[in-house]
C-alpha cells in the first residue's frame, strides 16, 4: 500500500460549508497579527507552505523526498544573496529563490526518479546532504555564519517591509498564492494523472503516460514551491543559514506533513502550526526538541498514520456512511 493511499477520498468539490470555513479562516488570518506576534505567525505561514509543497509530492504522487531542505534552504540562500549583495527588490529576490530551487529540483529530481520507493528517499537525502556540504564550503553562503542582516527593503520600491504588518500581509499573500497553486495542480488533469501514478504506476505506463515526465514535473513544482517558502523565510527572518539546508529540516517537514495528514489539503498546515508552536514553547524549557520530534514521529507512524486531519476526515466519512 502506497503511503499516499491512506486517505483515498478525492478532494471534495467546493461546497458551501467549505466556502464558509475558508472565509472564516481567511478572516482569522487577516486579523491574526493584531493578536499574535507577527514573526511567529509568519514563521508558521512559511513552514506551512513548505509542508504543503512537500505534500504535493508525497500525498499526490506517493514519492517520499528526504531532501526537501535543499530547496527550502537553497532558495533562502539565493534570495538572501540577491537582496543583500546585489541589492535586489525583495519580491524579485524571492522569485530568484524560486527559480534556483526549481533548477535544483530539475537536477535532483532527474537523478532521483530513476529509482523508486525507499531508494528514492535515500537518493534525495544523499543529494541534499551533498548540497549542504557545498553550502558549507561555497564562499557566497559564508559557511557556519550564513548570510546575516538581510535587509527587508521596500516591496516593488513602494511598501516598507520593515513594518511588521506589511511584511505579514506579504507573507500571507505569498502563502495563499502557493496554496492556490497547489490546489490548482492537484485538481487539474495533470494532478489526476499524478494520482493515477500513485495508485498504480504500471497501469499508468500501460495507458501510455510517460510516468517519468509527470514525476519530474511534480518534483520540480514541489521544489519551486518549497523554494517560494524558503525565499520568503529569508526575507522574514533576514538571514539564511545552514540549519535550513540540513537533513534535520527535511525530517521536520516530513513530520509536519505526517502529523497533519499526508494527502490532505489542510493537514500539512495544521501539522506545521503544531510543530512550530511546540518548538516555540519548548525553546524556553530544558527539554530537547529533537527527542520530542522523534517521539511524535514514532507515535504517528505506529498509531495514526493518516495524521490528525486525515483521521478526522476518515471519522466524518464513516459517520456519513453510517447515517446514509
Amino acid at each position: 500500500m502506497a503511503v499516499g493511499t491512506q486517505y483515498l477520498a478525492e478532494q471534495p468539490k467546493l461546497r458551501s460549508s467549505s466556502l464558509v470555513l475558508g472565509a472564516v479562516a481567511l478572516a482569522a488570518l487577516l486579523a491574526a497579527p493584531f493578536f499574535f506576534y507577527p514573526v511567529f505567525l509568519m514563521s508558521i505561514l512559511c513552514f506551512a507552505l513548505f509542508a504543503c509543497a512537500f505534500n504535493l509530492l508525497i500525498g499526490y504522487v506517493g514519492l517520499l523526498s528526504f531532501g526537501h531542505a535543499a530547496f527550502f534552504g537553497g532558495a533562502a540562500y539565493f534570495t538572501a544573496h540577491a537582496v543583500k549583495v546585489w541589492g535586489w527588490e525583495p519580491l524579485s529576490g524571492i522569485l530568484l529563490g524560486v527559480a534556483g530551487a526549481a533548477a535544483m529540483g530539475l537536477l535532483i529530481g532527474f537523478l532521483a526518479i530513476r529509482r523508486q520507493g525507499i531508494y528514492f528517499a535515500m537518493i534525495t537525502l544523499a543529494l541534499s546532504q551533498m548540497f549542504a556540504f557545498i553550502c558549507l564550503q561555497a564562499p557566497f553562503t559564508h559557511g557556519e555564519d550564513g548570510i546575516q542582516g538581510v535587509p527587508r527593503g521596500h516591496l516593488l520600491g513602494l511598501i516598507d517591509l520593515n513594518q511588521p504588518n506589511a511584511m505579514y500581509y506579504l507573507t500571507l499573500a505569498i502563502f495563499l498564492f502557493g496554496l492556490f497553486a497547489i490546489w490548482r495542480i492537484v485538481n487539474s488533469p495533470f494532478g489526476n494523472i499524478l494520482k493515477a501514478i500513485r495508485e498504480n504506476e504500471k497501469r499508468a505506463i500501460s495507458l501510455g503516460y510517460r510516468v517519468d515526465r509527470y514525476k519530474l514535473g511534480a518534483f520540480v513544482m514541489s521544489a519551486a514551491l518549497a523554494g517560494l517558502a524558503g525565499g520568503t523565510k529569508a526575507i522574514v527572518f533576514q538571514f539564511a543559514t545552514l540549519t535550513d539546508v540540513q537533513w534535520q529540516m527535511s525530517g521536520e517537514v516530513i513530520l509536519m506533513t505526517l502529523l497533519g495528514g499526508i494527502g490532505t489539503m489542510i493537514g500539512p498546515i495544521v501539522g506545521a502550526g503544531l510543530v512550530i508552536a511546540l518548538q516555540n514553547y519548548l525553546a524556553s524549557s530544558q527539554f530537547p526538541v529533537t527527542v520530542l520530534i522523534g517521539i511524535i514521529f514514532v507515535i504517528c507512524v505506529l498509531l495514526f498514520r493518516r495524521g490528525i486531519v486525515g483521521e478526522i476526515l476518515e471519522l466524518m466519512k464513516r459517520k456519513s456512511k453510517a447515517t446514509a
Binding site: 529509482r115 525507499i118 505526517l258 520530534i293 517521539i295
Partner: protein, 295 residues
Amino acid sequence: MSTIFGIPAPALYGQILIGLINGSFYAMLSLGLAVIFGLLRVINFTHGAQYMLGAFAAYLLLTYAGIGYWPALILAPLSVGAVAIVIERFMLRRLYGLDPLYGLLLTFGLALILEGAFRYWFGAAGKPYSPPAQLTGAVNLGFMFMPIYRGWVVGASLFVCLGTWLLIEKTRLGAYLRAATENATLVQAFGVNVPLLLTLTYGLGAALAALAGVLAAPIYQVSPLMGSNLIIIVFAVVVVGGMGSILGAIVTGYVLGVLEGLTKVFYPEASSIVIFVIMAIVLLVRPAGLFGQEE
C-alpha cells in the same frame, strides 16, 4: 622523498589508509543495512544511532564500570542488539506489510530520540576513548608508519565482513535467512519460525553497527552525532552498490572509502562530496546499482 603524480608518497599512503579505515566502517554499516533490508524490507535509519550507541556503550563501560576495550567489543554489540530486538518486537513488527516507507520513518524517529537524548545527557562534544594498551604505537612498514590500532581496525572489519558473509552463504541459519528473503510464507510452511528469524536478523544488524561503533570509538572520538553524518554517506554507498548482494555491499564500502581518501590527496575540496557524485554517476549509468537488480 619519492613522489607519485607529484604527491609525496607517504601522504598518499596515509590517505589510502584513512580511506581504507573509513571504507571499513562503510562496509560494516552497509552490510548490516543490506542484511536487514533483505529480510525485513526496512531501511534502518536507526543504524547510525546504533553505531553511536555501540561507541557510547564502550565509553560508559570504561568510565563507570572500569570495563575495558576487549570485553566491550562483546558486551556493547550484545546490549545494543538486545535493545534492537525489543524495538523489532514492539514497534517494527507492527509495520510489516505496509509501505516500507513507514519503516524508514519509524526508524528515523527512533534515531532522533536516541541522538537527542544522548546529546542532552552528554553534550555535543566528542569524548576521547583510548585504544587498548596492546594496540597503541605504530609499526614501520618500510614505506610508511602505520598506527597499530588503524591496522587492527582494517583487519577486524575484514574479518567481521567475511564472517557475516560466510554465516549467510554457508550455514544452515543463513540458508533459512536467504530462503525467507525469497519467500517468507513458503519457508514458514516448512516449519521455520520466520518471525523469530526477523527478530534475530534485526538484532544481528544492530549488533554489527554497534561493533563498528566500538571499533570507531578510539579513532573518531565518542559523540552523539557521530552516527547521523555517517549514515547518510552509507545510504549513498548502498545506492551505489545495490542492496541485492551482501558481497556487493562490502566491496562497494571499501572501494568508495579508498576513492574518498584519494580525493583528499588530489582534490581535497571535493572529498566530502565525492561519494555523492559517484552515486549520481552510477544512477545515470546503471540505475539499479553496481550489484543490484532492477525490481
